[in-house]
């Protein structure tokens, strides 16, 4: 039997790894990957909780599915924006994208 906490720890780890990626990657695609990791961590949490706490309501499960869908939508928009940036600046290095400041 796997204790719930194992899943949770893994989720937390995934979350933090993703967070690190988001904070430390220079290029937009890398950051996007980080975001995806975070969302997966959330899903792990949701499903684990569902399974262990309230298996007879599907809330967690449904939530996870929605998260997936939204993640896809987000990815789509995000990539579109990356393309636009790439067009205008010919770069995807986020640090270099700082016309707007102060």
């Amino acid at each position: 039997m796997i204790p719930l906490s194992w899943f949770l720890i893994l989720g937390a780890a995934l979350f933090c790894i993703g967070m690190y990626g988001v904070l430390s990657r220079r290029n937009a695609i890398g950051i996007l990957m980080g975001v995806e990791l975070i969302l997966n961590a959330v899903n792990v949490n949701l499903i684990a909780f569902w399974r262990y706490r309230t298996p007879d309501h599907l809330t967690g499960l449904v939530f996870a599915v929605f998260v997936m869908a939204i993640a896809a939508a987000e990815a789509a928009v995000g990539l579109a924006l990356i393309i636009a940036i790439y067009r205008t600046r010919n770069t995807v290095i986020v640090e270099d994208v700082d016309l707007l400041k102060m």
């Binding site: 975070i38 949490n45 940036i85």
Partner: protein, 488 residues
């Protein structure tokens, strides 16, 4: 009332959005007909507002408690509708020549309004998450709408990255809430805590949960320190979008913040009230102080809107639902939002008008505006006064109520910080006035305002003054709108 009736506002908005979208395709290449799209959108919004008004007084929970139709939600429907209406007027000839996708813009705007109405109504964490994402994604697109303008899509990508991560964090928090309580329905969450079956260790887990939720909401409202995306996004975005962002998502954020915290976590009020009070002080101070140094009016307004979020938060931090006093905090927030909606959007309309005429957003370029367009200068000044909080304007009413709430809860320090800030704020608002009226302008060319903009500006100014001079109905409106499903 039947389901369809209760959902009618949302459905109308959805329909309007889609219709505009399809008409835009249908009219492909027929520029002449595309001119009509804004009218369609406006018509839709008007119908939406009417439908909303019919629902007044409804107090029900729909679709297996996914969303509520209560006065609180309806209030925000109104706010969303008005804001969008004004913004559409404001963006009338803004995009001409800037983008080929004018029609979609109106559609997206209307759908964003829909997102706001959903957000204000949702009573389930899932709905909260979805509506917020809905709004966010719409906003990203709107900010990046001028895809060939480097500033525009830079603003968008920053907004996007920040938003994606923020929502990720919030989502993690939600997952924890779900894990602890086993439900995502706000009322049931509250019930679980009320039942008191949860062990201390479990409750411990609520800490990261609440903080992460706060991070997510804070991002939407642009509360310090989750505000940093906003100046860049605001400056980069097309000005009408900035106008929308400065009001719509903020309102939605506050709606969600209040509903979630009041409906789901009243048990923790002591904790979050303290944090929110602190955040509100930091927020308004930082917003004002940094706004002082801005020379670009859009950026100045971005910071000022951060500051205003701080003022509004005073109201919610000192919320007192059970107190007999008239100043229960929430009504302060609502009144403030109402006034802020008109004043701020109005100012943005003026800014757009100026931008359309001169192509500049630099405050010094406003020199001698009184000569170049007395009415623009005059109305802009009135609206600035409203943001400063001078009596006889809507802004004063809001400040009055939130300060009153703070004093009512004996948060004297909070109130004090608030007034000190409103003085500091006066300084940069007056600075604009100073340029408009005292500093002579280099060029004498008149600034002409498009009719649509003139209408929007007029409406905003008149509304600001009316609310300020005869607030009675609006106060009643707000007082009734305090009726949250499952809270009151």
């Amino acid at each position: 009332m039947n389901l369809l009736g209760l959902l009618s506002p949302e459905l109308i908005l959805l329909a309007t959005g889609l219709v505009v979208l399809f008409l835009d395709m249908a009219f492909h290449g027929k520029q002449g007909r595309r001119e009509w799209l804004p009218f369609v959108a406006i018509a839709g919004l008007v119908v939406f507002l009417i439908a909303t008004s019919f629902l007044w007084g409804a107090h029900e929970s729909l679709l297996s408690d996914m969303m509520a139709v209560d006065s609180f939600a309806l209030f925000f429907k109104v706010v969303a509708g008005l804001a969008t209406l004004l913004v559409i007027l404001a963006s009338w000839d803004y995009f001409r020549g800037k983008t080929p996708y004018e029609g979609e813009f109106y559609a997206l705007l209307v759908l964003a309004a829909l997102a706001i109405t959903l957000a204000a109504a949702s009573t389930d964490l899932i709905m909260v998450y979805l509506s917020m994402e809905f709004l966010s994604i719409g906003s990203y697109i709107l900010v990046g709408y001028l895809r060939d303008d480097p500033k525009s899509n830079e603003g968008a990508i920053k907004y996007f990255l920040y938003g994606a991560v923020a929502s990720g964090i919030m989502l993690y928090g939600m997952s924890l809430v779900y894990g602890v309580t086993g439900t995502t329905n706000l009322a049931q969450i509250a019930a679980t805590f009320a039942a008191g079956k949860l062990t201390g260790e479990m409750l411990w887990l609520m800490l990261p949960a609440l903080i992460m939720l706060l991070a997510g909401f804070g991002f939407k409202i642009a509360l310090v320190p989750f505000h940093q995306w906003s100046p860049d996004a605001y400056e980069g975005a097309p000005t009408p979008v900035t106008a929308f962002l400065s009001v719509g998502p903020k309102a939605a954020g506050f709606a969600i913040l209040m509903r979630v915290f009041l409906a789901a976590f009243p048990a923790f009020q002591l904790d979050w009230a303290a944090v929110l009070a602190a955040i509100s002080m930091i927020t308004m101070t930082l917003g004002n102080v940094v706004a002082l140094k801005q020379t670009n009016i859009k950026r100045m307004l971005a910071y000022s809107s951060i500051a205003h979020a701080g003022y509004i938060l005073i109201g919610f931090a000192s919320v007192a639902l059970d107190s007999p006093s008239l100043f229960n905090g929430v009504n302060g927030v609502l009144l403030y939002l109402l006034g802020y909606l008109f004043s701020n959007v109005g100012i943005f309309v003026a800014v757009i008008a100026f931008e359309n005429a001169t192509g500049s957003n630099q405050i010094p370029d406003y020199a001698g505006l009184i000569k170049r367009s007395p009415w623009l200068a005059g109305t802009l000044f009135v609206l600035l006064l409203s943001l400063t909080g001078i009596p006889a304007t809507a802004g004063f009413l809001g400040k009055f109520f939130v300060f009153a709430a703070a004093i009512n809860m004996q948060f004297y320090v909070l109130a004090l910080v608030g007034i000190v800030n409103s003085v500091v704020a006066a300084f940069y608002y007056l600075n604009v006035a100073r340029y408009m009226f005292f500093v002579p302008s280099e060029q004498e060319s008149r600034v002409v305002i498009a009719p649509a903009l003139a209408v929007a500006l007029g409406v905003a100014t008149v509304a600001t003054l009316v609310i300020g001079l005869y607030p009675q109905p609006f106060i009643e409106f707000a007082n009734q709108s305090v009726r949250l499903l499952g809270v009151f």
